[in-house]
């Protein structure tokens, strides 16, 4: 068969033609490549003048769309406030304001919350959002078989009662000064009871946007919800595009394909992007306290002076500059600088390698060799390299151990099998983790635990402030960990796009207040 084909072909073509064909084929290749690249060049989007839509870049794609059963921040980024809502919510500055709940009364010494909901609220499928739906959602989140990643938020609830379609009573086991704050989390949103089975793929919320399509691996489209119960939003459509590669993200901003990249994957490129007059920087703060966590149970790190020496050998500004290209604020304790009760403790362990070296010698430590475990984020990987160089200045030998998240969670977080690690604690207001003796940095300190216990049941603002100051000082004095810097919310947006959050009190891309100038 094939033989016939070739002999026929050669006869048809004629021997003389062969040289010509070869030349032709080679001559064809270059134009072909050029043609295809030019085809590719047609992927340029042209937009009309006034726009009702926005394309937002996100680094990570949500694995699924159920905020009540995963810790993935990407889920909240897409859905929080846009599609799903809670009784209360965060604002850009981290304040807690009423949302589905119009108002509330607190009684029984802070143990009973009586919520009044807004009238005529509906989910995207037309079903009613009433007190029963709220009870359903919160009961589901706190049940024994719940897979809610922040299950602990709801453990203080003892009972939820529906009094009327818009009236709801929540009883707590003990007073909780933070209860309204806990209800604002993305994990505490109200879901449509009929939709529980489809939660992961087709979210039905009550927000001003509803999900229209999800092209896996590429983008999620939200459409304006015309029947929204609250204030209507300006945008008709929001597209979230998932671009994990910083170079691709930068190119997408330069070509204008994307209108805003509020959390940009590579801070080093921001300065260059910002030279474009059509673009402007977003530089706010997050709740991410980035720390060099120390295994307080493992010698010699159980000695305060050793931890202090390590802390004093570290130049925080160098890490902010070197790893984050200047984005970030140095901290001296595990507390966010933008919080009203913050106190500046950055001088508790000032950078001084000579003193650090001496402290190590006084503690009788020579030839210290330690391992720093590094999860994947760039702050950890680059920060680790810098810290290694800094610690070598006072004679500490460092081995870096890069880990994937799954490995980090298993080895460092669960099994506490590590010396030092770098991680950003992105949960808002989480200084209470220092009161958990079995937490991964193994800090078991009774005085601190009693400060936290007292804080839990204190509702008076002045007393709370005083307790929070004590708490910050306590862990700074004890130098439990090396508190490096507050992670910045660094991104870029088109100048004409208004209303993107500057700060990130929670992982959210709230599009409800976003609109185009002109």
């Amino acid at each position: 068969m094939t033989r016939v084909f070739f002999s026929v072909l050669s006869r048809i073509v004629g021997a003389r033609m062969i040289g010509l064909i070869m030349r032709l084929m080679t001559a064809l290749i270059m134009p072909l490549i050029m043609a295809t690249t030019m085809m590719a060049a047609m992927v340029v989007h042209v937009y009309a003048e006034t726009r009702q839509d926005a394309v937002i870049g996100l680094q990570l794609e949500p694995p699924h769309l159920d905020p009540t059963s995963a810790a993935a921040g990407a889920i909240d980024q897409v859905l929080y406030a846009n599609v799903y809502e809670g009784l209360t919510r965060f604002t850009e500055n981290g304040d807690i304001i009423p949302h589905l709940a119009a108002s509330w009364d607190i009684s029984d010494e802070g143990r009973r919350y009586q919520f009044t909901l807004h009238q005529d609220m509906r989910f995207h499928d037309g079903s009613t959002l009433d007190a029963a739906a709220v009870k359903f959602s919160l009961d589901r989140a706190r049940s024994d078989t719940s897979t809610n990643a922040q299950n602990a938020l709801f453990q203080g609830i003892s009972n939820i009662t529906v009094n009327a379609p818009d009236q709801l009573t929540i009883d707590l086991k003990q007073p909780d000064g933070n209860f309204l704050f806990k209800l604002a989390w993305g994990d505490a949103v109200i879901i449509a009871p009929d939709n529980v089975d489809q939660l992961k793929q087709s979210p039905i919320g009550s927000g001003p946007f509803k999900l229209t399509s999800w092209i896996k691996g590429d983008r999620i489209l939200l459409q304006k919800n015309p029947d929204y119960w609250g204030m209507p939003v300006a945008l008709d459509q929001v597209t979230f595009r998932f671009i994990s590669d910083p170079v691709a993200a930068m190119a997408a901003m330069q070509t204008g394909e994307i209108d805003a990249f509020p959390v940009f994957p590579a801070p080093e490129n921001l300065a260059m992007l910002a030279t474009d007059t059509r673009l402007k920087l977003i530089n706010g703060s997050t709740e991410g306290e980035t720390i060099l966590a120390i295994n307080n149970a493992r010698p010699p790190f159980d000695q305060r002076s050793v931890r202090q020496a390590i802390a004093m050998a570290i130049n925080k500004q160098d890490i902010i500059d070197g790893a984050m290209f200047g984005y970030g604020t140095p901290i001296g304790s595990h507390f966010a600088p933008h919080h009203p009760d913050y106190i500046d403790l950055t001088n508790a362990a000032p950078y001084d390698p000579a003193v650090a070296r001496q402290m190590l010698a006084d503690a009788g430590i020579t030839d210290l060799h330690l391992t720093i475990s590094l999860p994947p984020p760039v702050y950890a990987r680059r920060g680790g390299e810098i810290i290694m160089a800094q610690l070598s200045q006072i004679g500490i030998k460092v081995t870096l151990e890069p880990l994937e998240w799954a490995q980090w969670l298993e080895k460092v977080f669960r099994n506490k099998d590590y010396d030092l690690t770098i991680v950003s604690h992105t949960e808002p207001f989480d200084i209470d983790i220092y009161a958990r003796p079995d937490y991964y940095f193994k800090y078991d300190n009774a005085p601190f635990q009693s400060i936290m216990a007292e804080l839990d049941i204190t509702t008076d603002p002045t007393k709370r402030r005083d307790l929070l100051h004590q708490a910050q000082r306590h862990i700074a004095d004890d130098q439990v960990n090396v508190y490096l810097f507050q992670l910045a919310n660094a991104g870029i947006t088109k100048t004409d796009l208004v209303g993107i959050w500057q700060h990130a009190p929670t992982q959210a891309m709230d599009m409800t207040g976003v609109y185009w100038k002109n």
């Binding site: 080679t26 060049a41 793929q201 799954a406 080895k411």
Partner: protein, 316 residues
């Protein structure tokens, strides 16, 4: 011929089975708890247990392997841990990018390798050949991820002709999709094309020394005529072998290239799935890649046998 194909098919299935055992065993050994990875650092022990129950992670390894295999045989690949959608759907979605990309790259490879390889082989030792050989040295030595970076730097960042990555789906039409896959396909194809080119060249040079070509020349055919009439077929054997292997490498190479260009293909899905310890998904993807590789080997063997009937006999 039928017996040959059946024999090779049996080998293919056996290979697949052994691979499945190896993959499963490897992933059993790797530390990392999918439930903890999904729920993060604030999850309570009760929540973790609840999720592990839901995912079926509390059963022992053997029964999990058997139920996985059993599901596979009935076409049920299970539910991804992290994405909570059927693994089959995820695979189908991602294959719709990885497979066209590999085929596209293979077309580029052939389009570059055949004419240049023939030119170099037919004009061995001449200037054209030397230039092609020199360029091919560079092509072979090019790390494809670095080449991809340079392409992005030139065409996306400096010239702004193409988007630097991402893929918006085939819904926007074939041309739009192909345009977005062009840079990745070129990045994948160039190093492979130079390898194929050199193989073709050496095969042709070899053939020009064969007796049948000399005979043909003696009959009065010109060099090109002789090569064209009698040479192609014999040059095809090594070319087909290498192309078969290259297709596998294009699939595997896509792991890196998809990450550089952020294409939502099989390779990128696998990197993410390993990171999230979505073991059931990782198993399916690796098995799929192994299947592609051995299917291509199988097809190459069959084509081989078609070209050269001597190979059809069972080995003794």
């Amino acid at each position: 011929m039928a017996g040959f194909i059946l024999r090779r098919l049996g080998v293919l299935l056996l290979t697949l089975f052994i691979s499945s055992v190896i993959i499963f065993a490897l992933l059993e050994v790797i530390p990392g708890d999918p439930a903890l990875t999904m729920l993060g650092i604030n999850a309570t022990p009760e929540t973790l247990t609840a999720l592990r129950d839901e995912l079926g992670l509390n059963a022992n390894a053997l029964s999990r392997y058997l139920s996985w295999m059993g599901g596979m045989l009935t076409g049920d690949f299970g539910l991804s841990y992290t994405y909570r959608t059927p693994v089959v759907e995820l695979l189908a979605d991602r294959m719709a990018i990885t497979l066209p990309l590999a085929i596209y790259a293979l077309i580029f490879t052939v389009m570059i390798a055949l004419p240049f390889g023939f030119l170099a082989g037919a004009r061995a030792g001449k200037w054209g050949d030397r230039i092609i050989l020199f360029l091919s040295q560079i092509g072979i030595a090019l790390p494809n991820f670095w080449f991809a970076l340079l392409l992005i730097f030139i065409f996306a960042i400096q010239l702004g002709w193409v988007s630097a990555g991402g893929f918006s789906g085939w819904d926007k039409g074939l041309w739009h999709g192909l345009a977005e896959l062009t840079l990745p396909a070129i990045a994948l194809a160039i190093p492979q094309a130079t390898i194929l080119l050199r193989v073709l060249r050496s095969a042709l040079i070899d053939i020009t020394h064969q007796d049948y070509i000399r005979t043909a020349r003696a009959k009065g055919l010109s060099r090109d005529q002789a090569l064209w009439r009698h040479g192609w077929r014999n040059a095809l054997i090594p070319v087909v072998t290498i192309m078969g292997m290259q297709f596998s490498f294009l699939i595997a190479g896509a792991i890196i290239i998809e990450n550089v260009f952020t294409l939502p293909g099989l390779g990128r899905l696998m990197v993410q799935a390993i990171g999230q310890r979505d073991i059931i998904l990782v198993e399916a993807i690796i098995l799929m890649m192994v299947l592609i590789v051995i299917t291509v080997t199988f097809i190459t063997d069959v084509i081989y046998a078609l070209i050269d009937p001597r190979l059809r006999r069972p080995k003794s």
